[in-house]
Amino acid sequence: MTEPSSKKIRVTVSRSDPGTERTFLVERIEPMMVLDLLIAIQREHDPSIGFRYSCRVAMCGTCTLRMDGRAILACQTPLEPDRDKVRLDPLAGLPVVRDLVVDMKPFFEEWARVKPYLEPVEGLDEPARIRPDSPERQIIDPSLDCITCGACYSSCGIADHKRDFLGPAALNRAMLLIADSRDAAGAERLDAVTASDGVDRCHYIYGCSAVCPKGLDPAAAIRRLRRWRLEGRPR
């Protein structure tokens, strides 16, 4: 599996300190994730390159960047064997701290605005008895695994730290809480997400659903919220 190969891959990385980009020729290994590529650059070519990662198993959501324009998790995106060049950029729509590292603050500001935490209904003193096949869990379970990596925000086309839009991740979170029978603040949240900076700003570009590394569908959450505004919350 690890037989030595002399294949190289040409990597173009956008850098912030000289304000330009740099190209590296990196030795290929098999298998190779984009994260391995960055670690190889750091070790063999330029130790000053700025990027971040933590868990490297697609759980922490900190290694998000753009490969050929598409937002990905560096740790779980393999480089196809026939690929000989790749371009890496920091996430779009967020201020760059250095090189490939962005400041996620605007993303979490939007996240915070939908009240992302449970407001328990009165009398919730025991774990709620909810069947796994109940309608609410049918809605919630497939959309629950958000790791707040920001890939959707970057691919949105509307969400940007200079614009007012809650963005796909925050709207998805709001949808989950509104659907949750254990939560008491649903009506308030529905008002918030259907305000002028909420669901109506979505133009169904589907960037979010196309890139989500956990396979979630925030666009579906937005459609659902728009429907609930007309039809009322499911209860």
């Binding site: 298998p31 391995d36 700025g50 490297r56 759980m59 025991e126 774990p127 254990r182």
Partner: protein
């Protein structure tokens, strides 16, 4: 969990979270796969869970801590479900479903699919938007600061983004940074886990116990040079009946644990795999094979979707073929000596989670890890809320601040020196070879010498001069902490001349309850060397069964040894 509890108990407290990664998104709790052990069913009992935990920990546990864990776990599950907003998998009746886990007499592991930690951590992170503590993300703690009386005054810290250093004065400091399992060639944890907390406490003169106990998870993925190597394939695979084969196609567990086979506890399976690999029966890349395809491809894809995806990433198909694995370093059972309230010998300093030692003894049960971090996180928060108002802000010793900052800035100022990445690699290699799954005196001594060499090299490291987001610099600081912890581990491992739980000595391969129902405490001596002392385990609640030492003998030992009691 700690912040949540501290803010609940005393809303007026001024709370600061210092995290060297992204707040709530770095570290290992998010990566928890299996689940959370808690006694919820009326047919289960605290006594049963306690017995399982002690049997797993080979009676090296601090029994009061273990009991606290078990006693509080159901409360925490309760709180996570009804206040924090977590939702764990339900059975058909709508009640929380608990699954079977290795080494336990009852199905008591609460979970959400095959990825449980993300649910707990995400919902706890959401709580911070309600509580709004001061968050210093990407800010690493450098050293604990004490005042003249030896009490907590605060800490020095470094902003990873800007490279600025600062002093944080605090009435109470809670250390919860996670263990140092990344210091092995094949390792499972997130990259932040470099033993910073343990090293900081050690430098501040605190006692560390059970440092020799490092758990290896038997099923870590092998993916060549890729960083994915070491990522854990979940325990449930073995639970579901996966087979382990060596390169000759033998189910080698027959030789090591014919009764439980692949379902034996982590320490036994890891050791078996390691011995197969070391005696030349492993694959060319140094691994063994796990095969679960006999359950049927569809079944595997349905039940272990996350794991199938993980293997597919490296071009392997878990559902249809065997996948190459190796033991991977996973969890440090050892850590700072604490009491049931997370208090240490330094007033104002609390330690919780993997940084603390004694809860799990010589081997941790799957599912007790996230239970520990939440239970003791909550307790530390409760305690902090009591202790903080009683204490005033202390003045740190300026000399200590200066020394800490100088040490941190030094690599930036050197122009020539070794690369931190190479030294880290060498450390991982040295630990894997010398202080790994199976140890002996000779190997440990060699590893000890190697650590000395690497410590010298680490003191010469030079990094690029940019202070902002300088990964090489951060790696150098991590490395210093890893080396500190590595030395304490090796020194402790040298002393324990028996095999117990995760610590296996090929030169002393038997468990020896007559002499070694004692735990090892390491602390920093005056000259910087490790001072080791031995303390008998206090069997306050339960004695080893079935063949523990006679009671009189233990009592006599207690008297003879005396016990230098930790200030509580």
């Amino acid at each position: 969990m700690c912040v949540l509890h501290a803010a609940q108990a005393a809303p007026e407290l001024d709370i600061t979270i210092v995290s060297k990664g992204a707040v709530g998104r770095s570290g290992c709790t998010r990566m928890v796969q299996g689940g959370f052990n808690a006694v919820l069913s009326p047919d289960d009992s605290f006594e049963l869970h306690f017995r399982d935990t002690l049997e797993g920990g080979k009676y090296l546990n601090d029994q009061e801590l273990a009991w606290t864990l078990i006693n509080d776990a159901p409360k925490v599950i309760h709180e996570l479900e009804t206040r924090v907003g977590c939702f764990f998998d339900r059975g058909e009746d709508g009640k929380i479903r608990q699954k079977a886990f290795a080494g336990q007499a009852f199905d008591r592991t609460v979970h959400r699919g095959d990825l449980t930690g993300i649910e707990i951590m995400s919902r706890l992170l959401d709580q911070t938007f309600r509580i709004k503590p001061r968050e210093l993300g990407d800010v690493r703690a450098l050293d604990l600061l004490l005042d003249e009386a030896g009490e907590v005054a605060g800490l020095t810290m470094l902003d990873v983004r800007t490279g600025a250093v600062a002093v944080l004065r605090a009435r109470v400091v809670v250390v919860a940074t996670g263990g140092a399992a990344t210091m092995y060639r094949i390792a499972a944890p997130a990259r932040e886990k470099t033993g910073d907390g343990v090293a900081m406490c050690y430098r501040a003169g605190l006692e560390l116990r059970d440092m020799e106990m490092m758990q290896f998870h038997p099923t870590g993925l092998l993916a060549g040079e890729s960083r994915l190597t070491g990522a854990v394939l979940e325990e449930g695979l073995r639970g579901a009946g996966a087979y382990l084969y060596n390169a000759h196609g033998e189910r080698y567990m027959e030789r090591y644990d014919p009764e439980r086979m692949e379902r034996a506890t982590r320490d036994i399976v890891s050791r078996a795999s390691y011995q197969e690999i070391m005696s030349g029966r492993g694959t060319p890349a140094g691994g063994v094979m796990i095969d679960i395809s006999h359950l049927g491809a569809e079944e595997v894809e349905r039940r272990f979707a996350g794991m199938v995806a993980r293997c597919r990433q490296i071009g392997q198909d878990l559902a249809r073929e065997p996948v190459e694995i190796s033991p991977t370093s996973h969890f440090a059972m050892g850590g700072v000596v604490i009491d049931e309230y997370c208090q240490t010998s330094v007033p104002g300093l609390l330690v919780a989670g993997e940084d603390a030692g004694g809860v799990h003894g010589a081997n941790r049960l799957g599912g007790n890890g996230v239970a520990e971090s939440t239970v003791f996180g909550a307790r530390a928060g409760d305690r902090a809320a009591i202790v903080a108002p009683e204490r005033d802000l202390r003045d740190p010793d300026p000399a200590q601040v200066a020394a800490s900052v100088d040490r941190a800035l030094a690599p930036l100022q050197r122009e020539k020196g070794p690369s931190p990445f190479q030294v880290t690699r060498d450390l991982k290699e040295a630990m894997w070879e010398g202080c790994g799954v199976v140890r002996d005196r000779e190997g440990l001594v060699r590893a000890r010498e190697r650590i000395e060499e690497l410590t010298e090299q680490a003191a010469q490291i030079a990094v690029p001069e940019t202070p902002q987001v300088n990964n090489a610099w951060q790696e150098t600081l991590d490395l210093a902490n890893q080396l500190t912890v590595a030395r304490a581990m090796i020194d402790s491992a040298l002393v324990r001349e028996e095999s117990r739980g995760a610590h296996f000595r090929s030169d002393y391969s038997e468990q020896d309850n007559a002499h070694w129902l004692r735990y090892i405490v390491a602390r920093r001596g005056e000259g910087g060397e490790t001072e080791i002392s031995l303390h008998p385990v206090e069997l306050t609640r339960k004695r080893p069964e079935p063949d523990g030492p006679p009671a009189e003998e233990l009592e006599r030992e207690d008297l003879e040894e005396g016990r230098e009691d930790v200030k509580r």
